[in-house]
C-alpha cells in the first residue's frame, strides 16, 4: 500500500485552473500499463494523496499523464511541482471503459468539464483502431469557452473526417460562435444510430443524471451506457469505506459502471 516514486517530467497548463502532469517511474520498470478510465492515487510529499484519472494514451506506456483541476490543498501543491520533482504514485485502480466491447458499434462520448480527462484515453484507444468502430462522436460541455480542455487537440480531432466533435458552453463570451446550452442539448441532434450505440459519460453527477435520461430518450439502451462516478477516496483498495455509493465501492467496483447497474442509486439523493 506504499506508493512508488515518480519523476515529474513536464507540467503543462491547460486552462486557468487545470494543468497536465507528465510522470515517469523513478525506479523499477520504466513502463506503466493501464486501461482507459482507470485512475491513480497521487501523493504530494507531506501534503496528501488524491485520486486522479489517467488522461494519456494507453498505447504510450512511457509517460503517464494526469490532468488536474486546482481545487484545494493537494491539487494546489501539485500545480507547484517542477520537472524532476518526485511524487508518490499507487495504481492503476478501478474499472475501465470497455472499448473492446464497443467494436462494430457507434460510440458517443459525453463529457462535462474536467470529465473529459478520464475519457481521453478511451478516445486514443478507439482512434488507434478506428476501422473497428462505426461513427465516433464527442459531445463536450464546459461552463465557458475558456474552460475547454485540450483545445488544440480538439481542433485537430474536429478536422478529422472520422470523428465528430461538438462543443457547447453554459455561458458564451464574445468571439464564441459555437453552441450555447448544457451538453444534453447536443444529444437529440448528434449523428449516431441509437440502436447500435455505446455511450460513455463523465461529468458532474447532475450532468450524468440528465445525460443518461437524454440518451435513453434517443433510444440508447441502459446497458449500452457507461458512467464514471466520483466519491471521496482515501485508500482506493476497498478499506476506508469512503467511496461507498449504495452497495458499491467506487474505487474497486467503479469508477466506471454500466448505467443499468447503478441507475437506482444515481437517481436518489445523498447516496
Amino acid at each position: 500500500m506504499a506508493p512508488d516514486p515518480f519523476y515529474v517530467r513536464r507540467l503543462k497548463p491547460e486552462t486557468d485552473d487545470t494543468f497536465t502532469l507528465a510522470l515517469q517511474p523513478a525506479d523499477g520498470p520504466s513502463k506503466f500499463n493501464f486501461e482507459p478510465g482507470q485512475f491513480n492515487m497521487v501523493y504530494v510529499f507531506g501534503v496528501g494523496e488524491i485520486p486522479i484519472s489517467i488522461s494519456g494514451d494507453p498505447g504510450d506506456s512511457k509517460l503517464l499523464f494526469h490532468t488536474t483541476r486546482e481545487v484545494g490543498l493537494v491539487t494546489r501543491a501539485m500545480r507547484q511541482l517542477k520537472p524532476n520533482d518526485l511524487v508518490g504514485l499507487r495504481g492503476p485502480f478501478g474499472t475501465f471503459w470497455p472499448v473492446e466491447d464497443a467494436e462494430g458499434k457507434d460510440v458517443v462520448i459525453v463529457a462535462g468539464g474536467i470529465g473529459l480527462a478520464p475519457l481521453r484515453p478511451a478516445l486514443y484507444r478507439i482512434l488507434s483502431r478506428r476501422d473497428r468502430y462505426g461513427r465516433v462522436v464527442l459531445l463536450y460541455g464546459t461552463r465557458t469557452p475558456a474552460d475547454i480542455l485540450y483545445r488544440h487537440e480538439l481542433e485537430q480531432w474536429r478536422s478529422r473526417f472520422d470523428l465528430e466533435v461538438y462543443a457547447t458552453v453554459d455561458r458564451a463570451m464574445s468571439g464564441w460562435r459555437g453552441n450555447v446550452g448544457v451538453v444534453t442539448t447536443l444529444i437529440p441532434r448528434a449523428p449516431f444510430d441509437p440502436r447500435n450505440t455505446v455511450a460513455y459519460v463523465c461529468g458532474p453527477e447532475v450532468m450524468m443524471r440528465f445525460t443518461t435520461q437524454e440518451l435513453q430518450k434517443r433510444g440508447v439502451n441502459k446497458d449500452a451506457i457507461f458512467i464514471s462516478m466520483e466519491r471521496n477516496m482515501k485508500c482506493a483498495v476497498g478499506f476506508c469505506g469512503r467511496c461507498q455509493f449504495g452497495p458499491t465501492f467506487v474505487c474497486k467496483d467503479g469508477p466506471v459502471f454500466r448505467f443499468d447497474k447503478v441507475e437506482d442509486w444515481l437517481m436518489k439523493w445523498e447516496i
Binding site: A2, P3, N232, G238, G241, Q244, K252, K268, E270, I271
Partner: protein, 391 residues
C-alpha cells in the same frame, strides 16, 4: 430454541482454582493476554497480567443510552455483557502508520510503517464478537486487496472465547444468528458454570493449537452432567436477550424504504456524534492524516478510524455528498443491515447492542428497523418533502 450442543469435540473441565494456569501457559508461550477488566466504570479490553484483573463479580445494566456496572451475587469472572471496547482495536488499529517517506538529495524513499505484529491472546471473546471478527476478515482479507497489517495481527491472534451467561439489556444476537454460543473460529471456548456450590469452566477446543494448550492445563474430561449444566447456561442466555430484531428480508425492506419518513424522525434525534460507529465491532471506515517533520524531509501517513457520520467523510467538490444527518444515519443503518450483504455476503450487524447503549440519546437500531417495517413503503407527501427541503 433448541439446547446448544456440546458434543462435537471432547470437552474438558477447568476448575476455578486452576483457571490461573491458563494465564501462565499463555504467557509462557509468549502471548500477551488481552482481556476484560474494569476501568472508569466500564468493562474494557486491556492487556492483563493476571486473573486478578478480570471483572470478578461485576455485571452491567445496559439500555438505550445507558451503561452502568453493578455487583453480582456471585464471583463470576465473565458475568458481564459486552462493553464499549471491541477486539477490532487490536487488529484494525485506531491509528496506524501506513508508511513513511523521506527525501534525501532529491530522492524519495518510501518505507512501510508497520512493525512486527505482537502475539496476542484474546481472552473472553463473545460469540457475536467472533462473528464480527469474521466480518472484518471479509473486508480486509477476502477481497481483491489484502491489508497486510491486519493479516499479520489476525494470524498471530489466539482466541479464547467465553460463552455469554448474562446478555445485556441491548443484546440481540439471537435475532442475528450470531450467538450466544461460540460456534466457530476459536482456539478454545469456555462456558463458566456457577451452580449448586460449584464454579468451573467447561472447555471446548476449536483448533490443534487450542488442544495443545489445554493439554498443559487440564486433563479432566467433562461428564454429561457438566455438559448439560453448560448447555443450560447458554440456553438461559439465549432466553434473556434484551432486544430483538426481525432480520428476515431486512435488506430489501431498507432498499425499498429510502424515502421513508422515519429517516427524518431519527435525524431529528441523532447528534451525528459517531459514537455508534466507534463502538461497533464491524465498522471499518478510516481517514488518513499526513505528518511532516519541521525540516520537511520526513513525512508519514497515518490511517485513523473515521465515521460516516462526519461531514468530511463524503466531501467532494467543496461540499458533502451526504450533507444531512438524515442521509448519514440512513447510510450507516443501511450499510449495517443491507448494502453489507451485497458487498460482503453477510450482515454488517451482529446484534451486540453497543450502538444502542453508547448512543447519548439512546437511538436503537432495532427500534428504527421495527418502525420502518411496520410502515413499510410509506413515503412523505410532496408537500412534506417540500417542507423538509426548506432551509
Amino acid at each position: 430454541m433448541s439446547m446448544p450442543m456440546f458434543s462435537l469435540t471432547e470437552c474438558f473441565i477447568l476448575s476455578q482454582k486452576s483457571f490461573p494456569r491458563l494465564f501462565e501457559v499463555l504467557q509462557a508461550k509468549g502471548y500477551q493476554v488481552i482481556g476484560p477488566t474494569v476501568r472508569d466504570g466500564a468493562v474494557v479490553y486491556e492487556q492483563l497480567s493476571s486473573v486478578d484483573e478480570l471483572p470478578c463479580g461485576w455485571q452491567d445494566d445496559q439500555g438505550g443510552g445507558t451503561y452502568r456496572l453493578k455487583r453480582r451475587a456471585d464471583n463470576a469472572l465473565f458475568g458481564y455483557g459486552v462493553g464499549p471496547h471491541s477486539w477490532k482495536k487490536l487488529l484494525h488499529l485506531p491509528a496506524y502508520c501506513l508508511w513513511s517517506a523521506q527525501t534525501e538529495n532529491g530522492k524519495l524513499q518510501i518505507a512501510p510503517g508497520d512493525g512486527p505484529a505482537p502475539k496476542l491472546a484474546f481472552l473472553g471473546v463473545r460469540s457475536c464478537e467472533l462473528h464480527a471478527l469474521a466480518i472484518q476478515d471479509k473486508v480486509f482479507l477476502r477481497g481483491k486487496y489484502v491489508d497486510p497489517a491486519y493479516r499479520q495481527r489476525r494470524e498471530n491472534a489466539l482466541i479464547v472465547a467465553v460463552n455469554c451467561a448474562q446478555p445485556s439489556g441491548t443484546c440481540f444476537c439471537v435475532s442475528m444468528n450470531t450467538g450466544p454460543k461460540a460456534s466457530f473460529s476459536f482456539d478454545l471456548a469456555l462456558t463458566e458454570v456457577i451452580e449448586s456450590g460449584q464454579h468451573f469452566f467447561l472447555v471446548e477446543t476449536g483448533s490443534p493449537q487450542g488442544a495443545e494448550l489445554l493439554g498443559q492445563i487440564t486433563e479432566q474430561k467433562a461428564t454429561q452432567k457438566d455438559k448439560d449444566a453448560a448447555a443450560r447456561v447458554v440456553a438461559n442466555a439465549a432466553a434473556h436477550m434484551g432486544r430483538t430484531m426481525e432480520s428476515a428480508g431486512i435488506k430489501d425492506l431498507l432498499y425499498r424504504n429510502y424515502d421513508h419518513p422515519r429517516w427524518e424522525d431519527v435525524a431529528a434525534r441523532c447528534l451525528s456524534c459517531a459514537n455508534c460507529t466507534m463502538v461497533c465491532p464491524t465498522c471499518f471506515c478510516t481517514t488518513v492524516e499526513d505528518a511532516t517533520d519541521l525540516a520537511g524531509k520526513q513525512a508519514s501517513r497515518w490511517r485513523k478510524w473515521d465515521s460516516c457520520f462526519t461531514m468530511d467523510f463524503s466531501f467532494i467538490h467543496g461540499s458533502s455528498v451526504r450533507a444531512s444527518t438524515k442521509s448519514r444515519y440512513r447510510q450507516w443503518m443501511t450499510h449495517k443491515l443491507a448494502t453489507w450483504f451485497d458487498q460482503f455476503g453477510t450482515s454488517g450487524c451482529v446484534g451486540c447492542g453497543r450502538c444502542i447503549s453508547w448512543c447519548p440519546v439512546g437511538i436503537d437500531i432495532t427500534e428504527e428497523a421495527r418502525v420502518i417495517r411496520q410502515n413499510d413503503g410509506i413515503t412523505l407527501t410532496k408537500e412534506q418533502v417540500h417542507e423538509n427541503q426548506k432551509p
